[in-house]
Subunit: 346 residues, 2 copies
């Protein structure tokens, strides 16, 4: 995580971390292995604070929620249990995603399944999702009105259901050669954007009863989430290896049907499209194939189109932020965080 | 499901089914495959009502919840969303358990993972758990006070976390040869009894603010859940094949460390214990081995001890039912249902 992010949001990050640990510590341990897996995933077994911070990641969702709460009320302490719950929920999906993707590493550590096996990793994810829901009920102790808590629970659960829907769709894409750009947007809206939408929406509905403000923050989060993912797809092909830390063309090597590829699939000239279809029908792509795909993508205008769409959603997000009618330091920080997420080069 | 159960609780079962379907139908389908898996699991794609009922199973947890609500208030309609949520939650754990156990069949149908693969079955379970939580928030529309809904959500989530803890423990037992009877009771208390405890506790706390009554129903459910599982372990070895529908000694063939086996492990004479250890250290048991294990179990008094413990928890459950201070037709039905669950021969 870049030093600027850390220094700007360090206070919020520390409060979120404290709430997560308190919620986790409150649980009586029945099966020590369950907590060992969870502690490993969050780096809570790591020796140094620096290590722990590296493993924790950016925690963008809870930070967004805290900033929205601050923009509306001037404070964010009343949403901390919801912020911790959302971060737990997000991480439960990561633990299960790693099982499905057979990913060996996450945040510089071996994944849970790669150490304890897929079966126990399923349990770790299930337990963590339950912990997320339990953590949300800690809002009661902060005297948040129960009706708001129930509504927050509904948003959290709907987001989780939609994330599962997005993941189901995503896993059907590799076997298909007719995925459209529109379907892809539906998939990332559910798989990625709904949890970011939940972050901003929950931050708002736990802070105000003004439905216009709640709706605007929700739309801000959703548009930002889509912009973030499309930008991520751009960086997965044209990112600077030195900055992203992964091979620039790895998304193509893995035959990911990411946004730029689907743009080319729809817009490339007939001959290029046929070549693309032939290349992606192979079990694996050689370096030469990757090079050829890159040229087809460029001829189809995929880089510019991908950037255009990311920018379009980014600008829509900022417009929704204006729709709240609020202008204060926290709103400015939300703009900076949005810019950081979408304008990043890594 | 026996005809008597069906005829006694048919009205409740129909109402639970209707609530489950309404909650499911309310969801806009994003990934049709997710709903195909869920519909398959519940038999909602089956042609005839008789088939659907066979696949639905006994739905003991929601029926218990409805009866508790009726015992307290005379009605159960105000808990139906919670009853449906609990049944969804229970079934999400079944879908994931089937992945972990590689079970091919559940309620006369192929398991979700055996048709769509483990990865999509993980998604189906995750989505169903989210649907369970969403369904609980339908209580709002029945004018249940939000504070009660939040408390019900906490009970549901704690039960789910404990179920995951129990499952983690259970999966560590096969590799160990020092599992004690006490550890086993801890495992089944969490893996099996907490969802039954959640059923009776939620039925109560959604119906009254009287903490004595809420506590008594919770304890009734927990004791009943333990009695049920210990009785199940008895039937897994000495049940009547013709009635249980599975080979009487299948639990021994599978080297399950169920209650009777652990009793023998603790109580058998030194020589028998050594034989037991040797037999269970083998990769598989022959018919002769199974026969030998059976005789060791009998010499150690395992059948009688298992029956004794099941009866002890059963009687404790009935005593907790008396602790509620309530006496009415629904209380009588709860006694009948408890008897049905623990005295059954199948």
């Amino acid at each position: 995580m870049p030093a600027s992010y850390e220094s700007q949001f360090g206070g919020i990050l520390a409060d979120i971390e404290e709430e997560m640990r308190a919620a986790r510590q409150e649980q009586r341990e029945v099966a020590p292995l369950l907590w060992q897996m969870i502690d490993h995933h969050f780096g809570w077994d790591a020796e140094s604070a620096a290590q722990r911070a590296r493993i924790a990641g950016k925690r963008v969702r809870p930070v967004l929620m805290a900033l929205v709460a601050r923009a509306i009320t001037g404070d964010y302490r009343h949403v901390l249990p919801a912020a911790a719950a959302l971060e737990f929920l997000h991480n439960f999906t990561l633990i299960h995603d790693d099982v499905m993707d057979r990913s060996l590493e996450r945040r510089h550590r071996p994944t849970v399944w790669s150490i304890w096996g897929s079966d126990q990793a399923i349990n770790a994810g299930d337990g963590l999702y339950a912990l997320a829901n339990l953590t949300l009920t800690r809002l009661l102790r902060l005297a948040v009105p129960p009706a708001r808590i129930v509504r927050a629970a509904a948003v959290l659960s709907q987001a989780c259901l939609w994330t599962a829907e997005g993941q189901v769709l995503d896993m059907t894409f590799p076997q298909r050669d007719d995925v459209t750009v529109a379907e892809y947007l539906t998939m990332i809206t559910h798989k990625t954007a709904t949890l970011i939408e939940a972050a901003t929406q929950m931050g708002a509905l736990l802070s105000t009863d003004d439905e216009t403000i709640i709706r605007a923050y929700g739309q801000f989060g959703r548009a930002l989430g889509i912009a973030f993912q499309v930008r991520d797809d751009y960086l997965g092909i044209w990112g600077d290896e030195a900055v992203t830390g992964k091979s620039a063309t790895s998304d193509i090597h893995e035959k990911k049907k990411s946004y730029p590829v689907l743009v080319a699939w729809e817009r490339a000239a007939a001959e290029d499209r046929e070549t693309l279809r032939r290349l992606y029908a192979q079990p694996a792509l050689s370096d030469d194939d990757v090079h050829q795909v890159m040229r087809i993508l460029e001829r189809a205008g995929a880089p510019a189109e991908t950037e255009r769409v990311a920018t379009q959603y980014y600008e829509a997000a900022l417009a929704h932020l204006d729709d709240t009618g609020l202008a204060n330091a926290a709103q400015t920080e939300l703009r900076q965080l949005a810019s950081f997420l979408v304008r990043r080069a890594y």
